[in-house]
Symmetry: C2
Subunit: 198 residues, 2 copies
DNA sequence: TTGTTTACAGACACTCTGTTCAATAACCGA
DNA sequence: TCGGTTATTGAACAGAGTGTCTGTAAACAA
């Protein structure tokens, strides 16, 4: 007996209703009753499962991030050698499957805490990786690893957000990754088609 | 007669109280009474000036962004030739003077709308600039200008956020800008101290 | 089928909201 | 300094939403 079918039904309905409504009206504008009504569930039932609407939101996003983390493990493991595009590619694919939720999270909906924490965690991990890699290979980073890490993840999050917000995705995920790799490799002047200044 | 001294006092006090309290407890947790109490102003007075707390927040941030835009004009005007670091430098300086408010905005506090809109506006303008520049000089962008624009502003916002969130700024603004310019010029492999893969 | 668990509807006190009002105080210009 | 104007104040108000707690009905697992 893993879980009562009724509780699964209720929880799923509430989660789905939340996602729908946040996209329609934004998180703060929502009422618990709005959610239960959309989910076709009694208000009392809501409180049997969640403390309040931020609790529901937190669980929904936590589930998503847990799922993402899991899918990211193999991608990150193989990228210790350099800038493969594997992690970001995996994120784009994940986002394609759960576009609505990704939109919500990346908009910073619901006070934006889950997003911020995820970004900060990524940045810290990336900075640490940069430092370790430099140490291991006895090279001197030419700019602050902390700064470089922020640039790195800031770029990816920005691209991800832009990508999921498009109604008709202008570029397939694989194409985006290719461009990002080219960009990392050749730099911004190359990408824009210009020669760097003397 | 520009403005009654009393209204100025009240408005300023309420704005300052909001900023303090958002930093302490976060926007959503705040009550109008919390704000008026901290500002030492009657609750009725609050409603004489603002529709609700999001209205107050919107005005405070709008003022900040207006101020920023004004300071950005000369910096942007001179940067039509390439990637000078002037705009981001001006933002860092501005942020240094108004660190608290910058923190709040960059955290996406208050549903994050002002930040998102600012970012989107910057991205659109940047993409347009890329396109126009390529057209003017008859060069072919090697990656989607839209994507490049997102990378560009996403990076700057991320760095800005990281910078204002530090308690003891590890790097002076001018140093940060220098690093960003180097990064744009030489690419990420150079910055991390590695040679790019064959 | 049976005992257990969940969903349900309604009621409850509570907090916060946004508005109104008359009395008081501060302001500005003359 | 004065007098008219305008803002602030505290209090009261209805209304919306919250979170909790009932007893009853329904769905569940075994």
């Amino acid at each position: 007996m893993a879980e009562d079918r009724r509780t699964r039904r209720s929880r799923r309905a509430l989660g789905a209703a939340l996602v729908e409504l946040v996209l329609e009206r934004g998180f703060t504008a929502l009422t618990v009753e709005d959610i239960t009504e959309r989910a076709d569930v009694a208000r009392a039932t809501f409180y049997a499962h969640f403390r309040d609407k931020e609790d529901l939101f937190a669980r929904v996003t936590a589930d998503l991030l847990a799922e993402l983390s899991e899918r990211l493990v193999p991608a990150v493991a193989g990228s210790a050698v350099g800038f493969t595009g594997k992690p970001i590619l995996e994120m784009l694919r994940h986002a394609r499957e759960d576009r609505d939720l990704y939109r919500i999270v990346l908009r910073g909906e619901g006070d934006g805490k889950p997003l911020q924490m995820f970004v900060d965690a990524c940045a810290r991990a990336t900075a640490e990786e940069f430092r370790a890699r430099a140490e291991r290979n006895a090279v001197q980073p030419r700019i602050d690893p902390e700064l470089l890490a922020r640039v790195w993840v800031g770029e990816q999050i920005a691209v991800l957000r832009w990508w999921v917000e498009q109604e008709t995705p202008s570029l397939p995920a694989e194409e985006v990754v290719r461009m990002l790799l080219d960009l990392a490799l050749h730099g911004r002047y190359w990408a824009s088609g210009f020669e760097p200044p003397a």
